[in-house]
């Protein structure tokens, strides 16, 4: 900005220009935050996700020490089954075994989020490794990894889940393994494509010309550029993993009673949907809200990291 050459002498205009620095001088982080703030949907998504995370952490603690919540998530009260939401002492009512719905919901959110984020973290690390090797090393490493990616991607997830649940027994570990075993391929595809483009960019050639080793080029110059697209994908994948866990728990392959995951809670209520629908409606809505929030956040992040898509 060349204020000195400007014919303006009004001091207030100059002062204003100083307090509002020109567009180009903002740091990328500040610019990203500005873009996120402008995107109402993404901001709401972020807020909802943060709220869920807090509840989820409480849920994880309560899963290990049920004493911290007013009601134990697993304690049955067969005299007080099917209490409607708002009943005294049970804000969200009780289920078919008289267990407090609110406590189950809090613990359920903790478990579902742990699965969603855990699966995504595992698949992201594997995908990052495999994708960057495949993208960086054309020739046989790429051929082999790409073939494995394609085989994995072509495999029906539920088939893997059934097979693993059969081998390890149904439970959350089997589900985490099954989903991660498929989802890493999504990340690997993405990272491979990004690395392949970046590998031939001038700044990489420049780094190579100055004698920087392969590993360092990959780590310092290429991988940082893949963080943004990987994060965007991660937010969608967390949502997809939460839904997948719920689906597997629903058909009985996932969380085993009395562990309450959101999908298992919907399954609990499926036989009572005619008269006491809230047993499955409450966890159902809980899933819809977090998934919509994660998708909104993903859309916001995508717009933020890809300026071409902004203002769309």
């Amino acid at each position: 900005m060349c204020a000195a050459e400007s014919p303006l002498t009004d001091i207030s205009v100059l002062a204003e220009q100083e307090t509002a620095p020109p567009y180009a001088s903002r740091s990328p982080l500040a610019e990203s935050w500005r873009s996120l703030k402008r995107n109402r949907g993404a901001l709401i998504g972020l807020l909802v996700v943060l709220c869920y995370l807090i509840v989820g952490i409480v849920g994880q603690i309560a899963f290990r020490n049920p004493g911290i919540l007013p009601h134990d998530y697993a304690t049955q009260d067969l005299m007080g089954t099917f209490q409607k939401p708002g009943a005294t002492g049970h804000l969200l009512g009780t289920d078919q075994l008289g267990r407090d719905m609110l406590s189950r919901l809090v613990v359920g959110i903790g478990i579902s989020l742990a699965v969603g984020f855990g699966v995504t973290a595992i698949s992201m690390v594997i995908g990052l490794l495999a994708g960057s090797i495949a993208g960086f090393r054309p020739g046989w490493p790429d051929t082999i990894i790409s073939a494995i990616i394609e085989i994995t991607w072509g495999f029906p997830l539920i088939l893997i889940a059934i097979i693993i649940a059969g081998a390890l027994g149904p439970g959350l570990t089997s589900i985490v393994l099954a989903i991660a075993l498929i989802n890493w391929a999504g990340f690997a595809r993405l990272i491979r494509g990004e690395v392949m483009v970046l590998r031939n960019q001038e700044f990489v050639q420049a780094a190579r010309a100055t004698g920087v080793g392969d590993w360092r080029i990959l780590r310092r110059h290429i991988l940082p550029h893949t963080v943004a697209p990987a994060l965007v994908m991660a937010s969608y994948y967390v949502a997809a993993a939460i839904i997948a866990e719920a689906a597997f728990s629903f058909i009985g392959l996932g969380a085993q009673p009395p562990t309450p995951s959101l999908g298992a809670m919907i399954a609990d209520g499926r036989n009572y949907i005619l008269l006491d629908h809230w047993i499955s409606t409450i966890p159902g809505l809980t899933i819809v809200l977090i998934v919509v929030a994660l998708n909104l956040l993903g859309d916001g992040l995508r717009d933020m990291f890809d300026p071409r898509l902004r203002n769309r």
């Binding site: 073939a147 394609e150 991607w153 495999f155 029906p156 088939l159 081998a167 999908g263 629908h277």
Partner: protein, 305 residues
């Protein structure tokens, strides 16, 4: 084109071969075996041994695998261990049902998703656009098995319009098809909308408008054609998901399709049925990926292979 097809066909067979090994071994290393479902629970261990021997299950797994592969290559699909049904008959009867369900879902997905995305893009930032986006966001968020429960509650229990599960006339098809298509509709609408918006800013659109073409011709035909490319390439990828969902949806609605049969046969350790139909699913997914690549080339001459 021809070398491309040849290369892809070779790779497809390679994938199927690996998939067959994975499926074969994991099924046999999973706990339990067909005697659990085929024999009386009180059957003596000697009876179980004899049964396993008769089926050849006591041979080393690799020998069993080569027998299976040999029979498959000769076109002998074998019979179900549990009820002796010929697998070729099962393929026909269950495959037909899956095909009906899958095609209905595909028609619903693209028949609703594409026009919805087109409309949202053409009427950008109006209430139509906002309504479509909200609808898509919620539809993507609803787990399909819960949507199934809600639909059964509404249409079967409350309104009594549709049967809750099973198969028969078209009425049995409505709910499974909607549930199977739901997420696809949302994804397609979003994809179509953003692809349309990307194209609407291009120079060729201004040229078409300057030529005096009607807005409908420009948006509905010229722009929509180029915007279909990402939707098509996504279609191939989505097929894998669709098949995964089909297993859940068919199980919930007891729709007698390949997904239902597969889940059932895996749970009952009906090895020949489970093996064959797993491979059928993998084959369909790989084939659809190939088709997606070919269609991609047809829709966009720039990437023609």
């Amino acid at each position: 084109m021809l070398p491309f097809l040849a290369r892809r066909t070779v790779r497809m067979f390679f994938i199927l071969l690996i998939a067959s090994i994975v499926v074969f071994y994991s099924l046999r290393f999973a706990p339990g075996d067909p005697t659990g479902a085929a024999l009386n629970p009180l059957a003596l261990e000697e009876v179980r041994e004899a049964y396993r021997h008769r089926l050849g299950l006591d041979r080393p797994v690799y020998q069993q695998y080569f027998t299976f592969l040999g029979n498959l290559v000769r076109g002998d699909l074998g019979v179900s261990i549990i009820n002796g049904e010929r697998i070729s008959n099962l393929l026909w009867s269950y495959g037909k049902n899956s095909l009906i369900l899958g095609l209905s879902a595909v028609v619903l997905t693209y028949g609703i998703g594409i026009p919805l995305g087109l409309l949202a893009a053409a009427r950008r930032n109006t209430w139509i656009d906002h309504l479509t986006s909200t609808f898509a966001a919620v539809l993507m968020g609803i787990p399909n098995f819960w949507l199934a429960l809600l639909l059964v509650y509404l249409f079967s229990s409350e309104l009594r319009w549709l049967p809750s599960s099973g198969s028969g006339g078209w009425k049995y098809l409505v709910m499974p098809a909607i549930v199977l298509a739901a997420e696809g509709i949302a994804v397609t609408a979003r994809m179509m909308r953003s692809a349309m918006l990307e194209q609407l800013g291009q120079d060729f659109v201004r040229t078409h408008r300057a030529k005096g073409l009607s807005e409908w011709t420009v948006v509905g035909r010229r722009v929509a054609r180029t915007a279909l490319i990402p939707v098509i390439s996504l279609a191939g990828l989505r097929f894998g998901w669709l098949i995964g969902y089909a297993l859940v949806v068919e199980t919930i609605f007891r729709w007698p399709g390949i997904g239902y049969l597969l889940v059932d046969s895996v749970l009952r350790r009906d090895y020949p049925v489970a093996q064959f139909f797993s491979l059928v699913l993998v084959f369909v997914v790989v084939l659809s990926n190939l088709f997606a690549d070919i269609l991609y080339g047809l829709a966009d001459p720039r990437v023609r292979v």
